[in-house]
């Protein structure tokens, strides 16, 4: 960090500060923004009039803020990716999607051939049958990869996996189709599709759990590298037990001057009593630094819509599936919310279905009535099915929302046909409604569930296009490019209570920029996702994204 002032000139600076929306020059000192404006205004800050013009053909935006993603994104990239859509790795390489069984098998064979230990299991991630015409992998498909090495493909949802015959034999699951998570194939034996706790226990007992060894420095470094590749300068880890080793690791990683992202972990309520969690947050608040911000707690109320585990109000799932699961009992939620609310903690509450959203709003309302607390900014996460009345309640209660815009692309077709039906799918992740009613909002990727890429997330909110090309509520819920860019910068910063530090380019804030090759406001909205990211500036430190 330099104590000398550096003045950068750029093709254009989009500040996301409405009182000075565009500029060409920005002065940076001690990792913070001294001033932003025109050449005439800012040149005076340059020592000896020297202006750093390395960004002369680039466009600067506030560094993107990913308000809902997970450190798992950094962990998964140690394994081969077998999702259907292209995805950019932490090394900046576009890993192409594999869109049919043969391509998946070929990708896995390629990884298999590079493994030195003939006995080590091959794990892969990112598969979703809905993206390859609802074709479910079978053990026979994976036997084509290897019959002598265990092979396991973890689905994009993380709740389901596919294994080869060898794994089923070793785990003694081949004939265990009476277990609810062991799906039978046409031959009556296990098909290789496994879900649920019993099957997972057996498989990890014989193979070892690839993700149970705890977070490593490599994982955190990969996470930061992915952030840089995508123009992200503030990133969440929105559900973490924050065990002592993790706390120590995060402290060490973020204190390194080379660490290229600000990290905002949320403490998982599920692994703590409220009393423990409140004490832990109190202790952690002082343990942060300028790149590590503790203070928020995550509650998970229900499951996922595409997994049919979200809790829906009447009339329920479009295809008649049974209602989903509560992960917190409805009578327990008000007690938890009240305790955290009283303790001054900001809550991030996962509610996918509208019944879960209703419950969360009831709980916040009760807590607010009992202990009025201005500017609590409790934030509903995902909140995909909320209707206008629920948004009006959010507004009245001071609740923010972080909508899962990427769902429109990845599962919009499934929501249209199976889970919600045409009308409700039209207001899936209702960014337009949030805007009209005035609920502070952001949009997110939930990486690694969908790819980390705020420009892609913004593209989803602007175009509202499903992967098959269907427009979902485009006329009423789509954002303008400018509104979407606000959502992935100052909007997300607001939901994290960091909008005084990041999210816009203005005097006093951290010098955090996304450096783009093109002006997202000058291109066709359909091309928003394709604007190349050159790299980032974090606390004044310039970092060119790798391109492998």
């Amino acid at each position: 960090m330099s104590s000398d002032t550096v003045v950068y000139s750029a093709r254009k600076i989009v500040t996301m500060n409405p009182s000075r929306p565009v500029a060409t020059h920005v002065a940076v000192r001690d990792g913070r923004i001294v001033a932003v404006g025109s050449e005439v205004e800012i040149a005076q800050f340059a020592p000896g009039g020297m202006i750093d013009d390395r960004f002369r053909d680039k466009v600067l935006l506030p560094g993107f803020v990913e308000g809902h993603s997970h450190i798992m994104e950094g962990m998964m990239w140690s394994l081969p990716y077998v999702g259907a859509f292209d995805r950019r790795s932490p090394e900046g390489k576009v890993v192409s999607g594999v869109r049919d069984v043969d391509a998946i098998v070929a990708r896995l064979r390629e990884s298999e051939s590079k493994m030195s230990d003939p006995k080590a299991p091959l794990f892969a991630w990112g598969f979703d049958p809905l993206h390859i015409g609802s074709y479910m992998l079978t053990r026979q498909d994976l036997d084509r990869v290897s019959t002598t090495r265990p092979v396991m493909v973890i689905h994009a949802s993380f709740h389901i996996s596919n294994v080869n015959t060898l794994v089923l034999e070793r785990a003694e699951l081949l004939r265990a189709t009476d277990i609810s998570g062991v799906v039978a194939g046409t031959d009556g034996l296990a098909s290789g599709v496994l879900q649920g706790i019993a099957a997972r226990f057996r498989v990890f007992r014989v193979l070892g759990n690839p993700l149970s060894s705890g977070i490593t420095l490599d994982d955190v470094t990969r996470y930061a590298a992915s952030a840089c590749v995508q123009g992200v300068t503030t990133i969440t880890d929105l559900h973490n037990d924050l065990t002592d080793p993790t706390i120590e690791l995060y402290a060490t990683a973020t204190r390194s001057p080379d660490f290229g992202v600000r990290l905002v972990p949320a403490l998982a309520s599920v692994s703590h009593t409220p009393e423990q969690a409140i004490a832990k947050i109190a202790a952690l608040r002082d343990g942060g630094n300028d790149k590590l911000h503790y203070g928020i707690v995550k509650l998970v109320v229900d499951g996922s819509i595409q997994g049919f585990t979200a809790r829906l109000r009447w009339p329920g799932y479009h295809n008649g599936a049974a209602n989903g699961l509560w992960y917190i009992a409805p009578e327990e939620l008000p007690r938890l919310v009240d305790l955290y609310h009283r303790a001054g903690i900001q809550l991030h509450i996962h509610t996918n279905g509208d019944e879960a959203t209703e419950l969360a709003l009831d709980a916040v309302e009760k807590a607010q009535v009992a202990t009025p607390r201005p500017d609590h900014r409790h934030t509903l996460q995902h909140c995909q099915m909320a209707d206008a009345a629920q948004f009006r309640r959010m507004k009245a209660l001071g609740v923010c929302v972080n909508l899962f815009a990427n769902h429109v692309f990845y599962w919009g077709d499934a929501h249209y046909a199976l889970t919600m039906g045409p009308e409700r799918a039209g207001h899936l992740d209702a960014t337009g409604t949030a805007l009209r009613i005035g609920v502070p909002f952001s949009i997110h990727s939930d990486a690694p569930v969908t790819p980390l890429s705020p420009l892609f997330t913004a593209w989803c909110a602007v175009n509202r296009l499903s992967s098959s090309g269907r427009k979902l509520g485009h006329e009423t819920e789509a954002l303008s490019v400018e509104q979407a860019l606000a959502a992935i910068t100052i909007g997300a910063a607001y939901t994290l209570k960091l909008d005084d530090l990041v999210g816009s380019i203005e005097c006093g804030k951290y010098a955090d920029f996304a450096v783009l090759e093109d002006d997202p406001l000058a291109i066709a909205p359909e091309a928003l996702k394709d604007v190349p990211v050159w790299g980032t500036v974090v606390g004044g430190q310039v970092r060119k994204a790798p391109r492998a």
Binding site: T177, S180, T186, A198, R202, V270, G320, W326
Partner: protein
């Protein structure tokens, strides 16, 4: 104990406030058997300090040979470690979450050779269960908890009137007409071996007899057809069956499947699985038997719902 003898597993389920923690506290303190108990919330475990040998924040070892572990997020790892300590415990007890389905955990013992499932015990607060079972928000969760349990264990008997107790029993029987219902003893630890799947002796000397003819409360419905179901339409049809139908089971054929399938539906959740090899020959047709409450709609009404899922017979 030999190294290879599987350890009995008991899963304790039941909704929030059903009395799981009280029961587990007693179990740990009694030390009748060397139990490893996995609990959801360590903070609620209340053990006499004199009994605690060591406590490292995630595991509490007691002087009587019992161990209590916090489940946290590393449940599978914790259970795996316990299984590696062969011979140290006579029984493993897992507390299911108040909103979880204990059967999902019980299934671990059906696939893990080191474990033997010895019982799924679901606790219920006698003063609340009748209301909970019909609750708009959690009724389904609560009913599912009973769907596969071996014993329903009523707590807080001393706090309810006979009429309330009867309502509690009736509510559980509506979900599981066949389930064994017992009471939590107000002052002693439960003997889990006696609540197990193959009890050595009866739990109580005097059988629980409420003097009600349970058959009279229920109505059976039989559905027989030649032909086969379309899988997607069957899903819709099962979803359209009235809530008064509590269970449905039998063999059927699914269009495109070579082998007949076993359909099982309990309180709205259903599965379709191929029969295991040990079953007797299954007829090449559809034969389902349902049990519902006394106000189950007429047979032809129910028939019509499933008929909608039949694949039209091909013209010869």
């Amino acid at each position: 104990m030999t190294q290879s003898a599987p350890i009995p597993l008991t899963v304790i389920g039941g909704f929030l406030g059903a009395g799981k923690t009280t029961l587990l506290n007693r179990l740990l303190a009694s030390g009748h058997t060397r139990c490893a108990v996995l609990v959801n919330d360590f903070g609620e475990v209340n053990i006499d300090a004199a009994l605690i040998k060591s406590h490292d924040g995630a595991t509490m070892s007691l002087t009587n040979g019992c161990v209590c572990c916090s489940i946290g997020s590393g449940f599978l790892d914790t259970l795996g470690r316990l299984l590696d300590e062969t011979g140290r415990f006579d029984r493993i007890v897992i507390e299911a979450s108040g909103v979880g389905d204990p059967w999902r955990i019980a299934e671990i013992a059906l696939v893990e050779p080191a474990l033997r499932l010895d019982g799924v015990v679901v606790l219920a607060d006698a003063s609340r269960i009748a209301t909970l079972i019909d609750d708009r928000q959690v009724g389904e969760t609560v009913r599912n908890q009973f769907a596969r349990c071996d014993v329903a264990l009523l707590s807080k008997r001393d706090l309810v009137t006979d009429a309330q107790l009867e309502a509690a029993r009736a509510a559980i029987r509506l979900v599981r007409p066949d389930v064994r219902i017992e009471f939590v003893s107000p002052d002693s630890a439960p003997d889990l071996a006696m609540l197990g799947r193959r009890p050595a002796v009866r739990f109580r000397a005097d059988p629980v007899d409420d003097g009600i003819d349970h058959e009279a409360d229920f109505r059976r419905w039989t559905y027989r057809r030649n032909g086969s179901f379309d899988r997607n339409r069957l899903a819709a049809a099962v979803g359209a069956l009235p809530p008064q139908l509590l269970r449905l089971k039998g063999a059927c054929r699914i269009d495109g499947e070579v082998r007949p399938q076993i359909l099982q539906m309990v309180s709205r959740s259903w599965t379709l699985l191929p029969p295991d090899g040990s079953n007797e020959q299954i007829a090449d047709a559809i034969a389902l038997v349902g049990v519902g409450t006394a106000d189950l709609p007429a047979d032809d009404e129910l028939d019509a719902i499933l008929d909608g899922a039949l694949v039209a017979p091909l013209a010869a």
